[in-house]
Amino acid sequence: MAEHAISIRNLTKVFPIPFRRERVVAVRDLSLDVEPGQVYGLLGPNGSGKSTTMKIVLGLVPPTAGSTQIFGRDSSFVESREEVGFLPENPYFYKFLTGEETLRFFGKLCGLRGAKLRERTNELLALVRLENARDRRLGGYSKGMLQRIGLAQALIQNPRLLVLDEPTAGVDPAGSREIRDLILDFKKRGITVLLCSHLLGQVQEICDRIGILHQGVLVREGRLEELISIENQTELILENSTPELLRQIEADIAKSGARIVEMRKPQTTLERFFLEVTSDKK
């Protein structure tokens, strides 16, 4: 049997609320697998247990019941973290470090050093386009810059798996698109990605497979295409069509017994419009 990149088995997490008798069930009997090379999107409303699941997978929070593994190694072992890069939600790093120092610090934690570390640091600063800010302290970084240094930090040891908790939160549309392109690039290089995001449009563009959590329960899971395609409908977008042609098509459709569900002028997306307006015209 091939090794799963992530495997979660009957995971339950209960948070006791201090000084009260209630408890919060953040995750309830969750089982899912992420296969190597996949981009897996974990979706769900606020408080549905996405971040909690990720933290358990990374061994930051112990599960109440069940188990999680990364490439076959249980999350409770430190070694399981050898090949994972993690970007936490609202990443905060040491404000007193510069961008470059931050990457060097995390590189050292992963056992890099010397020329190799320097090389990797430069490479990643270029990748996330923070070369100009490398000597500035993170205390002065904007939210989007922090997110990007966070991504670079997650990639420092060339991990086989990336766990990204809302990688595009607070990033402007252009930056968000860049991050999307980076993720697609990771996918091409065979890196497995587990991500969660509220930007469903983006999730749809990059994920192979999704799982939807609702109040800690996995309510839907499967290949994205299968989940969202409407089997008995077909979309047809025409350019420069004449009114006669349209009339003819409509007549043919009526004859064949099919039904037009909707007919409209396609609109550009707000995202594309925004990017068009704000892109540097050089």
Partner: protein, 292 residues
């Protein structure tokens, strides 16, 4: 990268965390407190004229070593108390522990960072102290040359030199450092389960007071003769959990010029290191199971 086996104990990782901790403290500008220490040294010299030379050295040693002791202790407690809560609150801890970093290495790195800070501070303060002592010595010698009959000058200067730099200053400074190190470890331990740094500091201060009073209290109770079995057990428990900090206080002996017994000094050092290790170990057991 896949081929490298995970090292369970990596000095490089601990070094990275320790130097990062030291850098954090340096960039928080904690070293500025050394200026206050320098001011105390200068200020205390202003009152010297009224004393005999022997008294002058005693006062200088008393004030300097006392200030060093308080400052290193305060620095150790304050600096350590904020380290963990800050990392947890800022979630930097998540990013660190999401790397292959065992929790023990994280704690050890933090502790070593503080110990380095304390070491640098102690060395700088010792240097300031030595300079102050030397300047005072020179002033006193110059004065003696003027006032003493020539045939007694050599003798007088020998006396002065013998009472300035004495060998027992070294164990004095070392025990001051060890006490601060012990408190760094203790404070780290408290901060692993405390909910706020204020709580951590309060407990550390309480331990400091108990640690200093316990030998006095013990002597008092045991001397009064009416200590029951319960009192004795209580005292035994207290002295087991809390180090007897009076042992670390060599200042009175140094000021009085008493020789410090080597065996006693080594025992104190051993005790300091032992307590520091025990606190670190307990800290690890709490931290290993902590929900972040």
């Amino acid at each position: 990268m896949t081929a490298t086996a995970h090292k369970f104990f990596s000095p490089a990782r601990i070094g990275a965390i320790a130097s990062n901790t030291l850098l954090e403290l340096v960039r928080l500008k904690v070293f500025y407190f050394l200026l206050i220490f320098a001011l105390i040294m200068i200020g205390s010299s202003a009152f010297m004229v009224r004393f005999t030379f022997a008294e002058q050295f005693q006062v200088l040693k008393d004030v300097s070593l006392g200030a060093m002791s308080i400052f290193t202790w305060l620095l150790s407690v304050l600096a350590t108390a904020m380290l963990l809560p800050k990392d947890i609150e800022d979630r930097t801890l998540y990013t660190i522990l999401a790397k292959p970093v065992p929790r023990l290495e994280y704690l050890l790195g933090k502790l070593i960072g503080v110990l380095l800070l304390l070491l640098v501070s102690t060395l700088v303060m010792s240097a300031m102290f030595a300079i102050a002592l030397y300047l005072r010595q020179q002033t006193v010698i110059a004065e003696t040359m003027r006032t003493t009959p020539p045939e007694q000058v050599a003798e007088a200067i020998r006396n002065i030199k013998a009472s300035t730099f004495t060998i027992n200053l070294v164990p004095g400074v070392i025990t001051i450092y060890l006490k601060a190190a012990l408190f760094a470890s203790l404070t780290l331990f408290i901060s692993t389960y405390a909910s706020s740094w204020i709580f951590t500091i309060l407990i550390s201060v309480a331990v400091y007071i108990i640690g200093h009073l316990q030998s006095t209290a013990r002597d008092y109770w045991l001397a009064s003769g009416d200590a029951g079995a319960l009192t004795k057990i209580f005292l035994a428990i207290v002295s087991l959990i809390f180090p007897d900090l009076q042992l670390f206080n060599l200042i009175d002996d140094i000021v009085a010029g008493n020789a410090i017994a080597m065996a006693m000094f080594l025992k104190t050092c051993g005790l300091g290191v032992l307590y520091a290790c025990i606190y670190l170990l307990v800290a690890y057991f709490v931290f290993a199971n902590k929900e972040l």
